[in-house]
Subunit: 628 residues, 2 copies
């Protein structure tokens, strides 16, 4: 027996079998519902309101919420035709996705695909080389792979073009492949896509490979979000249901962006070509290991279990048509190589963009996205680790947490009399994103509303109150809406996340017998890094207490590094060098990490000597409070 399910707003409709969950139905039809835990019923982010026959348990909902009609989509079985309303807080809405980056330039233009124009001598009895040999000789390439359909076309194209030929070549692994031919000598369209496939967001650039210039940028949520928010949830989803749906969702996301980018380009050039299937000639992908697996349809299961082995960290270049990416048939898809299952190609791309692997100075690179990866190194060596930081800064495991999208409180300033907040998209506030949480906790700490362990001090502020879940601090109150407030538990989760990242840095330094004072350059990569207040991040002990002038923000370095690889053979060689140079430090079984983590579960840290500047500020703040 099957039932009809309609999602609102939008009106997307699908049919499901009796007993399937609302989240299953949403995944099937592509309705965008928040889901952090991937369907386990633990995150309660997938709240929906259901009209029609269904079975549901209250689960982690409050009685009040349940009575108001809220249901947890992943815990609700459909028993008849239903309409499902997705409330704003459960929608994946307009967002603040970072596409900008800054760092090294590609230099030479030796992209994955190049156009060539040949003006050949006509054959004669004296010069009777075959058509293909004439072309290969003129190209001066050692060998050329030629697809049979192009070889079949070649004689006519050469003769009709009067021995002038325009062609497109791809090159990787030192060998060349013919991708397209046209008669005559002309400039062929040659566009590449650089893409950063994040667990949460996907950002793509359309690059004119003839000039190396970016033509357009586009970004979107990773449609896999309906299968769980963090990497582990996605892998669990793949383990249970196969990688197929995840593969489809990320491919659809990428193809959606390619379509957008081509439309944007055509709009600017004022012509309608509609040819993204025919003139996207190469693709370079920066992504974490799990995302790359899902893009390629590789089973990511073994990434999840010790010893955390991927199918490949250095994926072979594959034709886009095999993967199902919109482009010329045979367009090469290059994935930036990653070092390990949890230090993926996105981190290699970060390093590449930073250039830390080329310099003498000791650099620390921190990429806080859905995971938190840390790299330490110079031109001699690189060590890297992943901290399994948890999604606190992306809205997970914090009751009022949310991603940096419309309605998120992204900066907070606690003044003498009030709280000043800014909200993304100037909408009604719905929650607090990572940068807001850092501001909030740092300032609560400076003002003495929480102690070193992050526990809220009773009666330290009018905004502190007791609730069913212990003490909480109200950030925003609006009549008729749920208050936006942080609890002891929320703060503890943020502290665990920041402690993991800081401990990762500590372990890497320890592993090479250095200290934080030795860091000459501190790179911050990722969307999150771009928006945080460094002072506040140092106050809570997320970022080390390194002088401000040593900080460098890379922005979306995974995108930037992947573009470098799209454009330059040297960069692709460097990416491989980075892969080979890096030592991966596994923290999951590391006693040193556990020790460092425990020491970091304080604000900012148990060892205040590591935070001299923060100590100074704390003392100043305490003095201020004393004077008040």
């Amino acid at each position: 027996m099957s039932h009809k399910v309609t999602f609102f707003p939008g009106g997307l409709m699908t049919e499901v079998e009796d007993g399937e969950t609302v989240l299953d139905a949403a995944v099937a039809v592509g309705a965008q519902i928040n889901s952090v835990c991937g369907g386990k019923g633990t995150c309660t982010k997938c709240l929906v309101i259901i009209d029609g026959p269904s079975d549901s348990e209250m689960g982690k909902l409050s009685r009040e919420e349940y009575d108001l009609g809220y249901r947890i989509a992943c815990q609700t079985k459909i028993r008849g035709d239903v309409s499902v309303f997705i409330p704003e807080e459960s929608q994946i809405s307009e967002h603040q996705i970072l596409a900008a980056y800054s760092g090294r330039e590609a230099g030479e233009l030796t992209p994955l695909t190049v156009c060539r124009r040949l003006d050949l001598s006509a054959p004669s009895l004296e010069d009777n080389r075959g058509d293909l040999e004439r072309v290969v000789d003129a190209l001066e390439v050692p060998s050329l792979e030629v697809p049979l359909p192009l070889l079949r076309e070649l004689p006519q194209v050469l003769r009709e073009g009067g021995w002038q030929l325009s062609l497109m070549l791809s090159r990787w692994d030192g060998s060349h492949r013919l991708m397209a031919i046209e008669k005559g000598s002309k400039s062929l369209a040659n566009y590449g896509i650089a893409v950063d496939i994040g667990t949460t967001t996907v950002v793509a650039e359309l690059v004119d490979l003839n000039t190396g210039k970016t033509v357009a940028q586009a970004s979107d949520y990773n449609r896999q979000l309906v299968c769980g928010e963090d990497v582990l949830s996605r892998i669990a989803y793949a383990e249970e249901k196969g990688v197929g749906r995840l593969n489809e969702l990320v491919r659809d996301t990428v193809n959606g962006l390619i379509t957008q980018l081509c439309a944007e380009r055509d709009k600017r050039r004022r012509f309608h070509s509609g040819t993204c299937d025919t003139d996207i000639s190469s693709i370079s992908v920066g992504g974490n290991t799990a995302m790359v697996h899902m893009l390629l349809g590789l089973d990511p299961t073994s990434i999840r279990y010790a010893p955390y082995i991927s199918t490949t960290n250095v994926p072979p270049v594959l034709p886009a048509s095999d993967i199902g990416i919109r482009s010329l048939p045979g367009a090469p898809v290059y994935c930036v190589p990653g070092r390990a299952s949890y230090v993926g190609g996105d981190i290699t791309a970060d390093i590449l963009l930073s250039g830390l692997h080329l310099r003498d100075e000791l650099s620390l690179l921190i990429d806080v996205g859905t995971n938190g990866e840390v790299v330490l190194g110079n031109k001699e060596w690189i060590v890297g680790c992943s901290t399994s930081a948890g999604p606190a800064f992306e809205g997970g495991e914090v009751s009022c947490g949310m991603r940096a999208m419309g309605g998120a409180i992204d900066t907070i300033k606690i003044t003498e009399t009030d709280i000043d907040i800014t909200i993304i998209g100037k909408k009604r506030p719905r929650g607090i994103c990572g940068s807001g949480l850092i501001d909030l906790i740092a300032q609560m700490f400076l003002r003495g509303y929480i102690d070193k362990k992050g526990r809220i001090e009773t009666a330290s502020s009018e905004r502190v109150r007791s609730s069913g879940r212990g003490m909480e601090f109200v950030v925003h109150h609006e009549a008729g809406k749920r208050d936006i407030a942080v609890s002891d538990d929320d703060i503890a989760n943020v502290i665990r996340t920041k402690a993991a990242i800081y401990a990762g840095c500590s372990v890497l330094l320890q592993s090479v017998d250095r200290s934080f004072g030795d860091i000459e350059r501190l790179y911050v990569a990722g969307g999150f890094g771009q928006h945080i207040d460094i002072d506040n991040a140092q106050v809570i002990g997320l970022l080390p207490d390194v002088p401000r002038d040593r900080f460098q923000f890379l922005g979306n370095a995974s995108l930037g590094g992947s573009k470098l690889c799209l454009l330059s053979e040297n960069m692709r060689a460097e990416a491989l060098d980075i892969y080979r140079a890096m030592t991966y430090v596994d923290l999951s079984s590391s006693q040193a990490f556990f020790d460092q983590y425990s020491s970091a579960l304080f604000l900012p840290h148990t060892d205040m000597d590591q935070f001299p500047e923060v100590r100074r500020r704390l003392e100043a703040a305490r003095g201020q409070r004393g004077r008040d």
Copy 2:
């Protein structure tokens, strides 16, 4: 309006549109009818007997033949349902196809595809390489192309096999590709096909690439024969009707042989695997340029017109699945490179098998097949040409001529009192094949039945008689059958063919300022060479008057050379070296060739100094006749 056509013997049936020719119908249904001219009505080899409504002109048939019910299949239009009988002389029947060869051995075993067995260390936290990287490292290859389906399978295959893996790799152009994987350490079946695609015949060998040993041999006519006998007729057919049908026919011929070979192997091993689609892992093709074009579906038209340019002389290695050859998906198809449109990969294979390109001694190589190619060279240089010899030695342009198949008179000895003949297949004689024609003309010349110009001397023998086409010499008479006889015209055609070949040799020698006396080694390649009597061939001036101990017969050297390439990377490199080393001499526009050709239009030659031994024999024979 369509009509039903049934061919006998065999009963093959097809439907054709009104007005199509009987030959068209035969081509469509695959009925094997002789056709030398490819449907122009000039060769009258496609005689059939038709029962049913049809339009036909007498054309080149005699009144007697016409009245007996014979029709020329290519000149007969079908006007209703008909039965078509293919008489024995028009059938492509059991034949004498040369598969044997002798020459160099491959030496090292580095075939196009190799099996490897890996016993990998299991991954650990310390050794966390990805599955693919673990495999690539163990293979010690610089890079590996991996098809996505195999990459997707790899993790499970590795884990189920306890980190033991068996795999098949192909390698060419210095890069490696993964073709198959199986769990555990086992010896994978790894069979290759070496094939000689001749214009007339196709011979294939099944080779166990794990040992380098030939397992089985099979041969067949090239099914393209229904589209014309010689290369130019086939190209004309392609020009008129497209290359598609020719492509299908040669592919079907090759696939038929592969099926036969696999069946033969399975019979010997007493198991039924029926897996030629799954364990033929590579294919090496020796063939002339036109045949290779047709196999790959490349338009051969430009080969036919000056300056005779092919699409490619060095075809890229292509996956068998693209070409439609039965084998593992992705099995590489390698074609031995050729030097020019009329000195193709078959000649490179000849040279490779001979090894003349490696030695100091001056060697001449003659390959008389459907064409006649000549090569001269040593380890410093190679020159080569094609003589457009014409098909006289293959049964064309000679009234009683036929290919070396069942019923062909293949040796002739004129004694004092009679003629002793041998017949292929011990059947009733139907005609004379090339070796028989050489014997016949040489002995007629020695006995004074023909003069130096090849004209039959009136009353020189009881077998000489006048006919509608001038003088003729009756070789075989049988009551109620057409006599087998040669005419002045027939002999003139043979002389033109032998003159072209000899002139080719002369021009090459002249081009490097050498003479026949300098030839230290004379290689004879091709099926024809294997069966001729050297003495007789020298008497008519087909082969140069070089001492007998300098002759070396290579047999089917195209097959032998293609097997060398199947087995060894060095041999493939040598083949490319030969391609690069060879200078092609075009005879079509050469005054030197025309002069030499004119001088060679005599028996054995105008310049008797070039034939000292033949002169001695002629003088002895004249003396004998004088004494008689």
